[in-house]
């Protein structure tokens, strides 16, 4: 089956005065229709930049250097700005990490939710806002008629995230990107927002790209997962498969860190060392300084990705 979105060998670099940061350095993955795909990794591994690159929301000093983003047969990286605009918010929508700052403080919430409808379907302000009220009700904010006239600062963090979700599903996008949608929220609110997202995903038959650093969220929500480390996907596969049988030492470390598995009750493990500087990443396999299985070849040559029947890994341990 043809994937809905296919990212091929994407590279996005940031040109800083101190050097070039290869935030995304050759990332490839597919998202099928009706699928939830997660990208997981530590802060700074390039997962958010990957998401922003798909929508071409990377501004200077960042630049998408090469690769392809195929969406319904078109390479998004080759579209002109006007065609790209028709994709954003309508075909592919994105929810951001920080709901507190992601809404415009001087426009009413209702207007902001209705804006995509005005931009993409040429609706007038009045009908856009009346549809916005329905959307506000759909994301379970009480008193939608009144709340539509409120300004963002009158909303709590959880309500703002709901408002952003309403805004982003207003055009029934085929793909919804959620960039750490619950990180900035209280723990009690997090589950509600995730439930809402899953519910909407089913109703709207939307595919989802979930960006998170939380393996718990991955396990709960997604069908497939890609694990990112310093700009590369090091392992990718069905969620159950990756969980039960992690191949890459980094993934193993991440899963061992999880407190939720009862059989691992002895002692919480951790991955030794810290994320190296993205300006001067280690030669060879970028993970080798923190890897307890590191071999000589790991210090010399970056590993190829190996497909073990739908379970993909980039590690020298598995090469022939």
């Amino acid at each position: 089956m043809e994937p809905l979105l296919s990212v091929e060998n994407l590279r996005t670099y940031f040109y800083l005065s101190r050097g070039v940061v290869k935030a995304v350095d050759g990332v490839s993955f597919n998202i099928m229709r009706d699928e939830v795909f997660s990208l997981v990794g530590e802060t700074g591994c390039g997962k958010s930049v990957t998401a922003l690159s798909i929508l071409r929301l990377i501004g200077p000093p960042g630049k998408i250097v090469s690769g392809k983003v195929m969406f319904e047969g078109r390479n998004l990286l080759e579209l002109n700005e006007a065609d790209m605009r028709k994709i954003r918010g309508k075909e592919i929508a994105m929810i951001f990490q920080n709901p507190m700052t992601s809404l415009n403080p001087i426009l009413t919430v209702g207007f902001q939710i209705g804006e995509p409808l005005m931009a993409h379907f040429g609706e007038d302000k009045k009908s856009a806002i009346s549809k916005a009220i329905k959307l506000i009700r759909r994301v379970k904010i009480p008193d939608p008629d009144i709340r539509a006239r409120y300004y963002p600062h009158q909303f709590s963090g959880g309500m703002r995230q709901r408002a952003l979700i309403a805004m982003m599903i207003s055009c029934r996008p085929k793909l919804l990107i959620a960039d750490e949608p619950t990180t900035a929220l209280d723990v009690t609110i997090q589950a509600q927002i995730l439930d809402l997202l899953m519910e909407l995903k089913k109703d709207y038959k939307t595919s989802m790209l979930m960006i998170t650093h939380d393996f718990g969220v991955v396990a709960e929500m997604s069908d497939r997962v890609g694990v990112m480390y310093l700009g590369n996907i090091v392992e990718m596969g069905e969620v159950e498969e990756v969980f039960e049988n992690p191949l890459h030492p980094y993934t193993k470390g991440l899963i061992a860190c999880l407190p939720l598995k009862p059989e691992r009750k002895k002692k919480l493990e951790h991955i030794p060392g810290v994320l190296p500087s993205p300006i001067n990443p280690p030669r060879g396999c970028k993970f080798h300084p923190r890897c307890k299985y590191a071999m000589d070849i790991c210090r010399e040559k970056p590993p190829e990705t190996i497909d073990l029947g739908g379970h993909i890994v980039a590690c020298h341990m598995y090469s022939r």
């Binding site: 929301l57 605009r85 918010g89 951001f96 700052t101 992601s102 809404l103 403080p105 300004y151 982003m168």
Partner: protein
């Protein structure tokens, strides 16, 4: 709207102590001026007993705080005393010149905004390009220029060599051009720099990224989401700038012999016409407080965060 009104009333009440504070400072300043005010007013060759009589009549033998209230109550009633030089009520002198000063400062502020805002916005949108460098280079250049010297140079160029515009004085609307331009140029520089830095800051805000992600056309993102937010502090600056321009107008009006309040202030200082000086400074102070209050109110109108938090 009721909240807005409440907010405005609150701000106005907060302005009253500021004006009183300024009036006390000013009254004390005038008391520290060397010399007997009576002698200054009536001249030195007046019979000492007559001076004592006048002192009695004007309440100048009373304790200083009584004198202050005396002076303040007269001031509130619009009685600013009599000019020593012109021998006419200070209020007449001032109100015949105030319109000229307001005409000059408002014109130059409006010029500054009309020219400064587009320059700053374009510079921000083309950050790092030659347009940006050129605009900011010019801005810092005019920012570093003494207004009166700029005025002299413009006079030299347009008045003397090209003979396009009247040199100085007031002989019709074309007389306004040079002084207004002189006063406006440094303000253009300031406004352009301000809106540029505000735009650059706003363009990196998360909500602007949200606007892009929604697929809005770029002009909608730039104007509705970025520019409107960047404009708030710049518009508030309009009101904060007004009193500063009145200060600058003292020098510019003197250079161009513009018949406004600033030139009157200068001449009165030179001729030691202290009742006029005192009244003008207090009026400028009041105008300052008023424009600050207006600035607060306007920012509350433009920014719902201030409006709702402070009124509630």
């Amino acid at each position: 709207m009721a909240g807005m009104l409440k907010y405005a009333v609150k701000k106005i009440f907060l302005g009253i102590p500021a004006i009183l504070g300024v009036s006390i400072i000013l009254f004390s300043i005038m008391h520290m001026i060397p010399g007997d005010p009576i002698v200054l007013i009536v001249g030195e060759r007046v019979d000492p007993s007559r001076i004592e009589e006048l002192r009695e009549a004007w309440g100048l033998n009373k304790p200083i705080y009584i004198q202050y209230f005396y002076w303040l109550s007269h001031f509130i009633q619009g009685d600013f005393g009599t000019s020593i030089i012109h021998r006419q009520p200070v209020s007449d002198l001032i109100f015949s010149r105030l319109p000229f000063t307001i005409e000059l400062t408002l014109t130059s502020l409006i010029i500054a905004y009309i020219i400064g805002i587009p320059i700053g916005v374009v510079a921000a949108l083309k950050r790092g390009s030659w347009i940006d460098y050129l605009a900011m280079g010019f801005a810092i250049f005019f920012y570093s220029m003494p207004g009166f010297w700029l005025g002299l140079m413009l006079m030299l160029l347009f008045g003397l060599y090209l003979k396009w515009l009247p040199l100085s004085g007031y002989s019709g609307p074309e007389s306004l051009i040079l002084p207004a331009l002189t006063l406006a140029l440094p303000s253009i520089a300031m406004i352009a720099r301000l809106i540029r830095s505000e735009m650059l800051e706003v363009l990196t805000e998360d909500y602007v990224r949200t606007a892009w992600a929604k697929g809005l056309p770029s002009r909608t993102v730039i104007f509705r989401h970025a520019f409107k937010n960047a404009l708030i502090p710049v518009i508030v600056m309009f009101f904060l700038q007004l009193p500063w321009l009145i200060g600058g107008a003292v020098v510019i009006e003197t250079v161009f012999a513009w018949p406004g309040m600033g030139r009157l202030l200068y001449k009165s200082i030179v001729r030691q016409d202290y009742p006029v000086v005192q009244a003008i400074i207090l009026i400028i102070a009041i105008l300052t407080v008023i424009s600050n209050i207006l600035g607060d109110i306007v920012s509350a109108i433009l920014d719902p965060r201030i409006r709702l938090e402070e009124a509630g």
